[in-house]
């Protein structure tokens, strides 16, 4: 026997990895071939690059700076609803961008709550469009993520250290120097890099709150080159720049970040003996209350204005909702067909290349893949007719890195624990897959499928490239309603989208854990 026996083949996983790599690199090559040499980078392209970098730096710095205060407050306070608040910090991940934007507009927009309050005192209303609007939305999405990453750092300081510090009568300053500052030095660069990388490829936020020559990201510029000018050469050039940028950022982020923010045990409260002064207490209460308000008010706004909007929904919104459910289902299916074999192959330790292929989705830009697919499909078929399958496919590839992070550790555990027993019972192959692997993986499969379904349901990306007026997913339909200033109907549709996204996540996640044996 030359090789160790394995209960399941790694070949399908290698095939899936190859497919993903071919999709990402193939579309890139297709785009690159269309990029015309010698055209160079125009002034508006430079502006897009500059804006992309500036907003990403600002968003990352602000998100992480605020997250440090919030994480510190959460780490040393125990209060009613603490675990609920921490769980809610995970929610923006599956919150559709367009829903959050509507919420932010309702709170911070020209006619929003804050502007109205300012108006009472005779101040000018807020102006949300432009750089600060984009940064505001990015902070809304990434403050929770950064908080979870940094809170994880705090939780990983052993309880004994705090006990020792208390025993030595160390004050807040000493605890900061001894314990907290070194931990932050370790954790903060990773959090900064992750948020920076996420904000680089921001599309939907820039599409709705940015725009114009002074607030266009590269992703948005790709869309405009493609959609308004149908200038494939320019779209390709911008795509190449975007890919280098996101690739570098993702590489750096993976290098410097250890934690992933999805770890369990974040709601565990450490026993602390410091921070008992009334100043520290007041400060922490301020952090927690203002963060909770900042994160929850926009959602409350969507819900409250959406309820009445629900009755204004026309048939085309319901059609869009059905379309979105179908795209989401297809995307989830594709994701599982890719992710499960890949997770199994990685668990068998077959090849590091498979893991790399899984991470590619982090560096790839959906709009670049979309543009590339358009170029590839165009000579053979009408790309607009394939808008929905293409959207589902791209969504699946984008969800792949997250799905693998969820599936791989469990797949390792299952093959390590039950591999030999299954082999000795002659269960290699299908019996292992059906009787052992899938049943043992069910909670993780449900969680990954829930994430993928919710992400796809709320995605406003590739679909904007391909859609013709006849076809729309629900997020695109909401965007169109906003463009037509039908804000009431948009809010109603947003509430529907919110319910659908959270609903599919809940159903799939619950379904996975339903009657699952430990």
């Amino acid at each position: 026997m030359a090789r160790r026996a394995q209960p399941i083949s790694a070949l399908p996983g290698a095939g899936a990895a190859l497919l993903v790599a071919a999709l990402i690199f193939g579309t890139l090559a297709a785009v690159a071939l269309r990029a015309e040499a010698g055209r160079g980078f125009g002034s508006s392209d430079w502006a897009a690059l500059r804006f992309t970098l500036i907003q990403a730096v600002l968003s990352a710095t602000l998100s992480v700076a605020l997250a440090i205060g919030l994480a510190r407050a959460l780490a040393r306070r125990r209060f009613f609803g603490r675990s609920v608040l921490i769980a809610l910090l995970g929610a923006p991940f599956i919150l559709p961008v367009i829903v959050a934007i509507l919420g932010l507009l309702a709170v911070f927009g020209r006619a929003g709550w804050v502007s109205q309050a300012l108006g009472v005192f005779g101040f000018e209303p807020l102006q949300i469009y432009g750089l600060h609007g984009v940064v505001l939305a990015h902070v809304f999405f990434n403050l929770p993520l950064a908080t979870r990453l940094i809170l994880q750092g705090w939780q990983e300081i052993p309880a004994e250290r705090f006990r020792l510090a208390a025993q030595l009568n160390a004050g807040p300053r000493a605890i900061w120097q001894l314990l907290e500052a070194p931990m932050l030095m370790r954790v903060v660069p990773g959090a900064l890099a992750v948020v920076f990388a996420i904000c680089l490829s921001s599309f939907a936020v820039a599409l709705t709150l940015g725009g114009g020559p002074r607030a266009t990201t590269i992703e948005l510029a790709i869309y405009q080159a493609f959609r308004f000018d149908f200038d494939l050469g320019r779209a390709a050039l911008l795509s190449a720049v975007q890919l280098v940028l996101t690739g570098l950022a993702a590489f750096v982020a993976l290098r410097v970040s250890a934690a992933d923010g999805v770890g369990a045990g974040l709601d565990r409260a450490l026993r602390r003996w410091d921070g008992d002064s009334s100043l520290a207490r007041g400060l922490d209460v301020f952090w927690i209350l203002s963060a909770a308000l900042f994160l929850m008010l926009p959602l409350a706004a969507v819900v409250s204005s959406g309820v009445s909007g629900l009755f204004l929904l026309k048939a085309n919104v319901w059609m869009a909702a059905i379309t979105s459910v179908m795209v989401s289902a297809l995307s989830t299916l594709v994701l599982l067909l890719l992710a499960l074999p890949m997770a199994a192959a990685v668990a068998l330790g077959r090849s590091a290349m498979i893991e790399v292929a899984g991470i590619l989705g982090l560096a790839a830009s959906p709009l670049v893949i979309g543009t590339g697919l358009f170029v590839v499909i165009y000579p053979f078929a009408d790309p607009f007719a394939l808008a929905l399958p293409v959207t589902a496919l791209v969504n699946a590839v984008m969800a792949l890195p997250f799905a693998l992070r969820i599936l791989v550790p469990r797949a390792r555990e299952v093959t390590a624990r039950y591999g030999k027993l299954s082999l000795s019972l002659d269960m290699a192959g299908w019996p292992f897959l059906w009787q052992v692997f899938l049943p043992r993986m069910r909670p993780q499969i449900g969680f990954a499928a829930g994430l993928a379904a919710a992400l796809s349901m709320g995605d406003l990306g590739v679909i904007t490239l391909f859609a013709d007026p006849e076809v729309a997913t629900l997020p695109l339909q909401i965007y169109r309603l906003m463009g037509a200033y039908q804000m009431q109907a948009a809010a109603g549709a947003a509430l529907l989208l919110l319910a659908l996204s959270m609903g599919v996540f809940w159903i799939l996640d619950r379904g996975g854990r339903w009657h699952a044996e430990a």
Binding site: R3, Y418, K420, D426, P431
Partner: protein, 230 residues
């Protein structure tokens, strides 16, 4: 005859050598210091570790290139012998069919095996609802259904108390007698070896020695074993 011909078994950095024969129907204890390679030897026979040299034959048939599940071997591991999401009946039924598509006749066979080990009325429970001893009995019911020529035990009862362990070893002896199986049993407890094994293989210093009568080995232990037994 189970023949290990000039076998070199690689397990990570270290190698175990074995060149020995075991008579069909015998019950053999594998003893020796921990880390000497007792489990390595048994896992090579089961097909989990490759041979870098030599071959393993059972009744003149070369097993060396066969997949673990295709060998005439039933094995019980130190732990994790049951699938927690399958019922007692399903866990035992895996001994008949890996895909669990059992005919009514096979289902009756499973029920019969469960009754044989004293678990007739627990068939629909999952392992979590059973005691440690009952879990061992489910695994033994499966061994009964597998009807393989060789039964390999890698200390599956180590977590049980002394009385329960003795009970299980007696059940193993009965099952081996009923299925005419040859038993190889890893053990670090000389009492276990004396209880059911008529022969013992000493594994020490990277070498598995030819089997000798258990009482003889334990009463006049060679230096390596003496150091271990104290």
């Amino acid at each position: 005859m189970l023949r290990l011909e000039t076998c070199h078994i690689q397990n990570g950095a270290f190698t175990v050598q074995a060149d020995l024969q075991i008579k069909p129907g015998s019950k053999v204890a594998i003893i020796g210091p921990s880390g000497a390679g007792k489990s390595t030897l048994i896992e090579a026979i089961a097909g989990f570790l490759p041979l870098t040299q030599g071959r393993i034959l059972w009744r003149d048939r070369d097993l060396s290139a066969m997949a673990p599940g295709k060998r005439p071997v039933a094995m019980l591991f130190q732990d994790g012998n049951l699938f927690p999401h399958l019922t007692v009946a399903q866990n035992a039924g895996l001994g008949l069919r890996a895909n669990l598509h059992l005919s009514p006749q096979e289902q009756a066979q499973v029920q019969h095996a469960l009754e044989r080990v004293g678990l007739g009325d627990l068939a629909e429970l999952t392992p979590a609802a059973l005691s440690g001893g009952q879990q061992s009995r489910v695994a033994l019911a499966r061994v009964l259904l597998q009807r393989r020529d060789l039964l390999l035990l890698d200390e599956p009862f180590a977590a049980l108390g002394p009385a329960l362990k003795a009970e299980m070893l007696d059940l193993v002896a009965e099952i081996a007698a009923e299925t005419h199986a040859t038993v190889l049993m890893v053990s670090h407890d000389p009492q276990d070896a004396r209880r059911i094994a008529d022969q013992a293989i000493l594994v020490a210093d990277g070498k598995a020695h030819a089997p000798l009568a258990t009482a003889e080995v334990l009463d006049n232990p060679p230096p390596a074993l003496k150091a271990y037994l104290g």
